[in-house]
Amino acid sequence: MDKRVVITGLGVVSPNGTDLAQFRHAIRNGISGIRHDPQLEKLLFSCQIAGKPVIDDERLQQYFSPLELRGLQSTGIVYGVIAGMDAWKNAGLEPAAPDGTPYWECGSVFGTGTSGIDKFREAIYKVDDLQIRKLGSTVVAQTMNSGVSAYLSGKLGLGNQISTNSSACATGVESILMAYERIKSGKATLMLAGSTSDSGAYIWGGFDAMKICPYQYNDQPEKGCRPMSASARGFVPGSGAGAVVLETLESALGRGARIYAEVLGGHVNSGGQRGSGTMTAPNNEGVQRCITMAIKEAGIGSGDIDVINGHLTATSKDVTEIRNWAAAMARQGGAFPYINSLKGMIGHCISAAGSIESVASVLQLSEGFISPNINCEDLHPAIAQLVDPKRIPTACMEHDFNILAKASFGFGDINACIIFKKYQHG
């Protein structure tokens, strides 16, 4: 029989809060983590604002040894290790003893799009400068995509599957679903799932070159990312990491863990870059199918969804996304669920988006609030035609609810949707 899977730990490194307490405060109060970025200005980017977590040296030293910190330039590994270890601790778990056996029943799926891009850049310059012998020993560990899951498994002593998934901006939701499947099928008892994304010009440059980031808000960064608004001008690049601990309900109850939510199910698919789908645009049929399949796999009806945390990046595709949700659920106007996007506060954290936003979703579900859609005071008229504006709160709402649907969509016409349910204690 399939196992029930619950979430018992959360960790996050976000542009607007680098631990769970700061993050909760920020998303309740609509606090932006988007700031002017001097590096992007110096390098003549069109968009010179970004969402970048600030981690000081003292914090770094709590997670990495002095040796690990030497030449550590993979911001994605830094964010992922901090978020992952925080989630582990938040779940009431300890790392396996250094001289003991690993936790054979615990694994990790921790995704990313690239790893250690600044380290990679340094290595490339050295190689071309005939300095191959001076690369040092950590280029591989910092630049292999699975670096983040390798660091985490070593620090925690995880002995089950250790993998890094990569599916563009859907990575974070996919990682949680992959971990969920592994537990559900009985191959692991507990999994650390999440995703991370590097910071900086070399990761964000490609998006700037595509002219999909706003250049109009360089002098007012906090206004720059405007999901669902008529004045949305593109997504603001971001970075960070989100992590959740998933385990069987049995295991959670057995060890008396705090249960934040249950994962009812979900779905990942692709529109195959057919129909309206391309490398960068979704096949609407694929998106709708992903949502309806997620609802079906969760064993609920589309009328049961109380709140949606959308992908909603603040591009012209926001309208398309709302149309797809409305069509997939056959719900419109006042019957549409509440919906929000976190990206107004943190920007689009690329491969980390799905996991950071899932942490936000689970917090909202377990604590009974809906975080505000900031910079959406001028709701896009095409969205207002489909959804009652009251369903798109611009101030934080205290609201107890049962079921949240979270979706992320990515380059390559990739979709992921997960359904979280409030866990009824006792």
Binding site: L67, R70, G136, S137
Partner: protein
Amino acid sequence: MDKEEFISELKTIVTPYTQEPEALDHISEDTDFIKDLKINSANLVDVVLDVEEKFGIEIDNDAMARMLTVRAAIEIIEDKLAASGRE
């Protein structure tokens, strides 16, 4: 530079890499980097790079493969310094 000074310099260099810091108290010419100091073998290349930087020498692949103990390291450093006309 005498042996004691070499050992002291090497001790400073290997300190961040050792997983057995107590063993540094008894470091001598006989100390083995991997067996005694529990330095991860992957980090030996970093030790070599740090030695090169400290002494302003270049250590070739053959010498690097031999540099597993404090004694071998001192011999190699002395050779390279002598070859470059420095003592």
